[in-house]
């Protein structure tokens, strides 16, 4: 019995963290955020060298063949550094969809390329999370029509994994005729989100891509977003504590004032148990299928709430400096803000958690 990380798991996370601290410092994040596309090919290449795109792809397809817990550790490291690269959609949900729902030939065609970083996939499942007027993709005889919003990791994608109105999944090549890609600008300039419009687009359905697979990849995606918030929140608390230790007002470091100290303590007290929740949700995804959806919901909704509190409070600890662009703290603030809403806000996700437990009368 050991509820904790193995040394291999720590090494993986440390490697990603170290790489990002060296190759994707705040200055680089700023540059990417100011550019047209919120995506850093350089960092993506560096992470590919570490094997990140193939973290959950089996070794037979050239991946690392690790579990969702390892993926969550990577996600946490990315959130910690607000790394301006894809992850939840491109490197977890998309390969998982192909692994769980793809035919042999689909797997052979795509997984090696996804594992090496030679191809990139984006994921369009937002309508399976929450419907919206005028949005939705209809499949008929292998052709797709309609609109998908909030496509995760959209920039620079070669392939789209698209859910239709029945929850079935399809592969769509980025250059398919009839497909229009529209970037969506969000508060967070470190993550790419897009819109797809389809008029008679040829699709390659995943034979095992029914509702169950969609459910699984949404669970996985939510755990990744939760882990991203965990990393971002950890970084914000660290920055707040560091700032409070050096910023002097009234002749004392502000961190020696009880009000500031307690703000930091409340953040840490709220966030620290989240670490174990994220670990367990990721572990359960692979090893405790009965609890998997419930834990994914809990991780996503709880981290969203705690993340909002940490984002706001750590900004307050920084005083006016937290509100400026100078400290750059807002990149983390916005990353948490984005993660909170994607794949369902906390109220929606908690409602799903109630359904899973049979707590909602039909």
């Amino acid at each position: 019995m050991d509820f904790g990380l193995s040394s291999e798991q720590r090494m993986l996370q440390d490697a990603v963290t170290r790489y990002l601290s060296e190759q994707s410092p705040l200055g680089h994040v700023r540059d990417i955020a100011a550019a047209a596309t919120p995506y850093s090919p350089d960092v993506a290449t560096g992470l590919a060298d570490l094997g990140v795109p193939g973290v959950i792809i089996p070794a037979e397809f050239g991946g690392m063949g690790l579990g969702l817990l390892e993926a969550a550790l990577v996600a946490e490291a990315l959130g910690f550094s607000v790394a301006p690269v894809h992850f939840a959609g491109a490197h977890v949900m998309a390969p998982l969809a192909i692994l769980l729902g793809g035919s042999d030939s689909q797997q052979r065609a795509w997984l090696p390329k996804l594992a090496s970083g030679a191809a990139r996939a984006a994921v369009a499942v937002s309508q399976a999370v929450e419907g919206r007027d005028g949005v939705g993709v209809v499949a008929r005889d292998g052709w797709l029509d309609g609109t998908a919003l909030f496509v995760l990791d959209a920039a620079d994608a070669d392939l789209f994994v698209v859910a239709d109105t029945t929850g079935a999944l399809h592969l769509v090549a980025a250059d398919a005729p009839g497909l229009t890609q529209i970037p969506l600008t969000t508060i967070d300039k470190t993550r790419s989100v897009g819109e797809l419009r389809m008029t008679g687009v040829k699709a390659d359905p995943l034979p095992g891509g029914g509702g169950r697979t969609t459910r699984r990849i949404i669970d996985a995606g939510r755990i990744m977003l939760a882990a991203d918030i965990l990393g971002a929140g950890t970084a914000m608390i660290e920055q707040a504590v560091a700032y409070a230790g050096t910023r002097v007002q009234f002749g004392r470091p502000i961190g020696s004032f009880q009000a500031v100290k307690h703000m930091c303590a409340e953040m840490a007290a709220a966030l620290e148990p989240c670490r174990s929740l994220v670990w367990y949700a990721a572990h359960a995804f692979d090893h405790a299928p009965d609890e998997s959806t419930l834990m994914a919901c809990h991780a996503k909704s709880h981290l969203s709430e705690v993340g909002r509190f940490v984002a706001r409070t750590s900004t307050e600890v920084h005083g006016g400096m937290g509100f400026t662009d100078l400290a750059g703290l807002h990149y983390w603030f916005k990353r948490i803000g984005l993660d909170r809403q994607l794949l369902g806000g906390p109220e929606l996700v908690r409602n799903e958690a109630a359904r899973v437990q049979g707590w909602i009368a039909v």
């Binding site: 937002s126 999370v129 929450e130 419907g131 919206r132 007027d133 919003l149 909030f150 529209i182 969506l184 600008t185 969000t186 508060i187 967070d188 989100v193 819109e195 002097v248 007002q249 009234f250 002749g251 004392r252 502000i254 004032f257 009000a259 500031v260 909002r308 706001r312 900004t315 307050e316 005083g319 006016g320 937290g322 509100f323 400026t324 662009d325 100078l326 703290l329 807002h330 603030f333 916005k334 803000g337 984005l338 809403q341 994607l342 369902g344 806000g345 906390p346 109220e347 929606l348 409602n351």
Partner: protein, 402 residues
């Protein structure tokens, strides 16, 4: 508890309505923003001053309308201009902060020279108070003014100088007596932003906009005569000004319009199976905010009444900034949550709602929670001045003193 207006005030309200009906065509489009006003806005301001709807209580000899203070008439003007969606008189730091300070503590020469052009929008001011190292502890400011004959030479840096790029003039706190206790070594100077040695750099905030600036002074030469109040009394002079800034935050009218926009959003926007308003959890949050808003609105009326009757609502006044900023922030937070994934869109994105204003407001209001005395400083003030609790040694004595 009499919520009706007296005959005099009802008549005054009718006057305002008649004025609005007659002149609204002449109102400028953009409203009285902080930047340099347009010719149209300057003309509108002159008209308002002439009728007593701007610079109402400023003496005639300094260019104002010269009416006796009547807080209810001021409120009626505000209400009716807002209801008619007609821009009110110019709002600027010069008008709200410098002019009251000069009226209270300026020399006759300073009043005659600066008040008129300022209230007419001809001279734009910025405020030079905060420094990178002096926020909550404002009195620790380090910008130095050293004597050089009849002048001061100013060196240092200010931050949060909104409108510094547009401003003609600055009112500025500088340290003239570095050997004195920190509150006693400060002077209040006014000088031109055209003076050589001033550099202004935009300060970008988390909203992505450069609403503020940093302003750097290198050997900026200012005649000693341009001091307001006595040398070394700048802290006292600034307090007179800060009082006015404090009053600007937490306007329940603004809160109410934000709330109404949120309720309208939830009534009209759909998500999942129906209107957002049909989601009981989000609706419950909306109702909590509505109750709080009602409390703040009536609290505002109570503060206003006390003030109109020459009193002070004490605690009811001291809590306004803390509570109103937090409530505004929570209204924006709910709007973002209610929009679900759409809530993350920003700037010129497709599918954007309210021009991205909810996210913008969510961040800007966090700035307001921090600015003008952080929430922590506000709580010290409430506890020490409102509840009479014992002071913590050396904490927040400065803001707490205001």
């Amino acid at each position: 508890m009499d919520l009706t207006y007296s005959a005099e005030h009802q008549a005054f309200r009718r006057e305002v309505l008649v004025f609005l009906e007659a002149h609204r065509h002449a109102a400028p489009k953009g409203g009285g923003a902080a930047q340099r006003p347009s010719a149209e806005a300057v003309a509108w301001q002159k008209l308002l001053i002439a009728h007593g709807y701007a610079a109402r209580t400023i003496p005639k000899e300094y260019g104002g309308y010269g009416a006796a203070p009547d807080i209810l008439k001021s409120r009626i003007i505000g209400e009716e201009f807002a209801r008619a969606s007609v821009p009110p008189g110019l709002q600027s730091q010069g008008i709200s902060m410098l002019v009251p300070t000069l009226l209270e503590l300026g020399t006759e020469e300073q009043k005659r020279r600066w008040i008129g052009p300022t209230i007419r929008g001809e001279v734009i001011w910025c405020q030079g108070y905060s420094e990178p190292g002096s926020g909550s502890d404002l009195a620790s400011l380090q910008t130095r003014a050293t004597e050089d004959g009849d002048d001061f030479l100013i060196n240092g840096q200010k931050i949060w100088t909104s409108t510094a790029r547009e401003a003609d003039m600055i009112f500025c706190l500088v340290r003239t007596e570095p050997d004195k206790a920190k509150h006693d070594g400060i002077s209040y100077l006014i000088f031109s932003m055209k003076t050589p040695g001033i550099e202004v750099r935009p300060l970008v905030t988390m909203t992505g906009h450069g609403e503020f600036n940093e302003t750097f002074f290198t050997d900026v030469r200012v005649p000693k005569s341009q001091i307001v109040g006595k040398r070394g009394q700048g802290w006292f002079v600034a307090n007179a000004t800060l009082k006015h800034e404090r009053g600007m935050l937490g306007d329940p009218g603004q809160l109410e319009s934000r709330f109404l926009a949120l309720a309208e959003l939830m009534r009209t926007e759909t998500a999942g199976d129906g209107r957002i308003m049909d989601n009981p959890i989000l609706r419950d949050r909306l109702l909590r905010l509505q109750a709080e808003l009602a409390a703040m609105k009536f609290n505002g009326l109570r503060v206003l009444s006390a003030s109109a009757n020459g009193g002070d609502a004490g605690l009811a006044r001291l809590i306004v900034k803390l509570q109103a900023c937090e409530l505004a922030h929570q209204i924006s937070a709910l709007a973002i949550d209610a929009l679900g994934e759409l809530g993350v869109l920003y700037e010129s994105s497709p599918h954007l709602r309210a021009h991205g204003g909810w996210q913008q407001a969510y961040m800007f209001q966090l700035g307001l929670i921090i600015g003008g005395g952080t929430a922590q400083i506000q709580k010290n003030i409430i506890a020490e001045r409102g509840l009479g609790m014992p002071r913590e040694p050396k904490l927040a004595t400065d803001w707490g003193r205001l």
